[in-house]
Symmetry: C2
Subunit: 500 residues, 2 copies
């Protein structure tokens, strides 16, 4: 059945429990917390990345629908527990005591989860997800949340960049399944690519599961299965008189275009129009110009020219500069694997912990030799200040557990001399929204179609200088000044003063 099943993207395909979709250390830590009686100590974690992908100026947030589905179905089945019970340490003893397995059997998810809506443009250091709840549970979520959000955010961002290069009116079709990183590497890539700006996918399962428009032409093997190319095209037109796109490069591309035109003429006599031709190799700039000229001369100015062959945003830009006559871009490998940067380095860091006497929060920090890798303490919210036209001006990270001063100032965590005073009465919105409260879903998530349209508006609301590919302008994201000072003090407190 067609379904825009953005509310259950996992359950449709993955029937087995996915509660063990995690790193072992989440379970060994859980065991340790349980042994120490720390399992219910309230904790806050943030999921964020430290640098936008592709040396770009932004990312498009994605994956939340998967996260919500995973969290809603999270529980340990008897199979899961039997497996965990079978694990042995190096001395042959069980790794986990039976009491802990019983604890996992009873475990109910009770965390609060806030998240930035899918399709929102986001920047370095901004919590995409904030988890607040019992330490053991909140820790346990780390790996799955990262897996689901890192990849889909990466691909949605790649698709937005490809849309940027192709322009608003060209068609972008995602063709990547055969080179994807596994089944779900294909399936969730198709979802994220559509979310980020693609118009359709070749992936039929993604069409079925997510309601994404499916598109396709034919392969070289189709042409090779007939006496000659013209016969092959004619047979395809027979099956799809109004939806034929002929792949013309099996033997010789421009000869192929001539064969396509011959068949298109006969189609027209029957009242049908050739939808398009596809170029899949060779010099696409030259061949598309020649093909366009041949089609136009023959009276087929509306026949589309689809191009594919290891394309990405940079090649599309280059082809357009060369006057390529391509109006539909088939993007495979480079999109679904995010070829030039196949992973987003999102992290999940502890930022606050209730004191042992439950009285108050203690804010925590992870140091690093590199300041950029030092975490941000607090229970964070992201406030986005916008112009009167709704254009984002600057984002402020602040600690919701501390009072905000009247005069707001933000400080760039990478360069503390870059400061901005926030105008009084600036319009703003808070990006993190409640998704779960005490383990219960508290919101309806939008459909994939709604997310896609929102994402387009989001990307377009950014200044072009932030969207450009080469050395983009850095969008201002700062720590609210009191948070910055608090963090600096905490770093100095934790970092030993070394001899020079």
């Amino acid at each position: 059945m067609t379904s825009a099943s953005s509310t259950r993207p996992l359950a449709d395909v993955y029937a087995s429990s996915l509660s063990l979709l995690t790193d072992l250390y989440q379970l060994t830590m859980a065991y340790g917390y349980w042994k120490q009686g720390l399992q219910d100590r309230e904790a806050v974690f943030h999921l964020y990345f430290r640098r936008p992908p592709f040396e770009g100026g932004y990312a498009v947030c994605a994956g939340l629908a998967y996260v919500a589905d995973w969290l809603e179905t999270l529980h340990f089945t008897e199979d899961d527990l039997a497996y965990l019970g079978s694990l042995r340490g190096s001395k042959g003893a069980v790794l986990f005591e039976p009491g802990f397995l019983e604890y996992l059997r009873q475990l109910k998810f009770t965390c609060d989860v806030d998240a930035i809506a899918e399709g929102t443009v986001v920047f370095a250091n901004e919590p995409l997800i904030r988890v607040k709840g019992p330490l053991l549970q909140a820790q346990l979520l780390e790996t799955a949340l990262l897996t689901l959000v890192n990849f889909q955010t990466l691909i949605a961002t790649k698709a937005a960049r490809i849309r940027e290069a192709a322009g608003p009116s060209d068609q972008i079709l995602e063709f990547g399944l055969r080179r994807a990183q596994g089944i779900d590497g294909g399936l969730s890539a198709s979802r994220a690519a559509y979310l980020g700006g693609a118009d359709g996918t070749s992936n039929v399962l993604a069409g079925q599961k997510f309601g994404i428009p499916v598109r396709g032409t034919h392969a070289h093997s189709w042409v090779m299965s007939f006496e000659d190319e013209e016969a092959a095209f004619a047979a395809y037109a027979d099956a799809f008189p109004d939806d034929s796109v002929f792949l013309v490069d099996t033997y010789d591309t421009l000869e192929g275009v001539r064969h396509a035109i011959a068949v298109a003429r006969r189609m027209r006599e029957q009242g049908h129009e050739l939808a398009g031709i596809r170029l899949d190799s060779g010099d696409l700039a030259y061949l598309s110009r020649e093909a366009r000229a041949l089609l136009n001369e023959a009276g087929f100015p509306n026949t589309r020219i689809v191009a594919s062959n290891d394309l990405d945003e940079n090649l599309i830009t280059s082809l357009k500069l060369q006057g390529a006559q391509i109006d539909t871009w088939g993007i495979g490998t480079k999109l679904v694997t995010a070829y030039d940067q196949p992973a987003l380095g999102g992290v999940y860091k502890l930022a606050a912990l209730r004191k042992a006497d439950d009285s108050d929060w203690e804010f925590t920090i992870k140091l690093s030799e590199q300041l950029a890798k030092t975490s941000i303490p607090g229970i964070l919210q992201v406030r986005r200040f916008v112009s009167e036209k709704g254009q984002p001006r600057a984002d402020m990270l602040y600690n919701t557990a501390a009072p905000l001063p009247d005069k707001l100032e933000i400080i760039d965590p990478q360069d503390i001399t870059r400061r901005r005073a926030v105008r009084a009465n600036s319009d703003y919105r808070e990006l993190l929204e409640p998704i779960f409260r005490a383990g219960q879903r508290v919101c309806e998530l939008p459909t994939l179609e709604e997310i896609r349209q929102y994402a387009q508006r989001e990307v377009h609301s950014l200044d072009p200088s932030i969207r450009r590919f080469l050395n983009p302008h850095t969008y201002p994201v700062g720590l609210e000044a009191s948070l910055h000072h608090f963090r600096t003090d905490l770093i100095l407190e934790k970092r030993p003063l070394r001899p020079a």
Copy 2:
């Protein structure tokens, strides 16, 4: 339950039908063949890659267990058919006639499938899978076979390279799930990494589903959840007295090592030994040497040093050259995404088709401007000639549907001046083995453990010059001379003679 479920790797996790895990064009072509009455014309396709990944000299074949599982369960469910029936062309008419959907409903898989065993070292142009059967069916398999084989072969090869760099005695742990490309991008990467040479994974689901040893330490957040680092280590040791690996870089790495040693001393008093420490940032060469010295001085020469942080085969090689004292390598992103080349460009090409009168085979070819991308016609087998010690000497691709001459000669398809005469009585083995006959499985596949051991033997059987990372020696793979001549004639026949 633990299970070395290499025979049903998909069914365990993906309960929904995966028959639509394909590109739409496979179905539009199927429809076209059905309309033309060509659905049962016998065809032969080969799946192969054109260049080993990572600019290396070989690949380790993987993914067949998934392929076999997918093929065994292939059928169109009512949901699948309802979805396909819902698709509309541009003029609003159904894309597929009801008669075709009925055909798909009745469709039974009846192909012959031959494949190279998982774990075998393979080279450019060698068919990893050969499918022979009705044109419609054989075509329909393309996308899923490519998705499953491309990715797992890529990752198994990456793991073999990392094993090459780490040497035979170091431990290699795959830690990549959080940066993997989706759930299955993580899960099948864990399988392929283990197959190719890793010793374990952090991915608990992969442990449960495939019986891979699972390993893990703790996160920075564990340390941050305690008053100080020493208290955190002591608490972890409490939970895992014989299996503790302390992450020492939350605040200051060498201070962390000192804290680990302090706790290790108390552990020893209780009769336990600290298993290891983990370095996750900073200068791993320097820090590991300093840590080793501190541990040794303190009487802990057997405490292992685990290192992680964006490692790959090149960084491991470099660290070893710098005298790094690391004996366990935690490899994440760079392994599970094959970061420096995140896709293997495997293709699936039609190579033979029965003539319309069913009398004989017609061999087919896909041309390209680049000779390397021109396909190889025939019903191919790969014969591997081996030395008396079993070391591979050369591979010969030949057409099983043509007689073999008495004197065998192989010709490099990239450079026809590179020819080799095969010695009479050379030992050899044929790499493609029957997996399905008339749609029925005809073999037991080995367990993952068996495949892993076989893969290690396979890689070690290669000359080191072929295994090296930089400019490896090209292993000789040639076309049997009569196949070469036949192919050349076919190219000349199909390629139009252009004016100069």
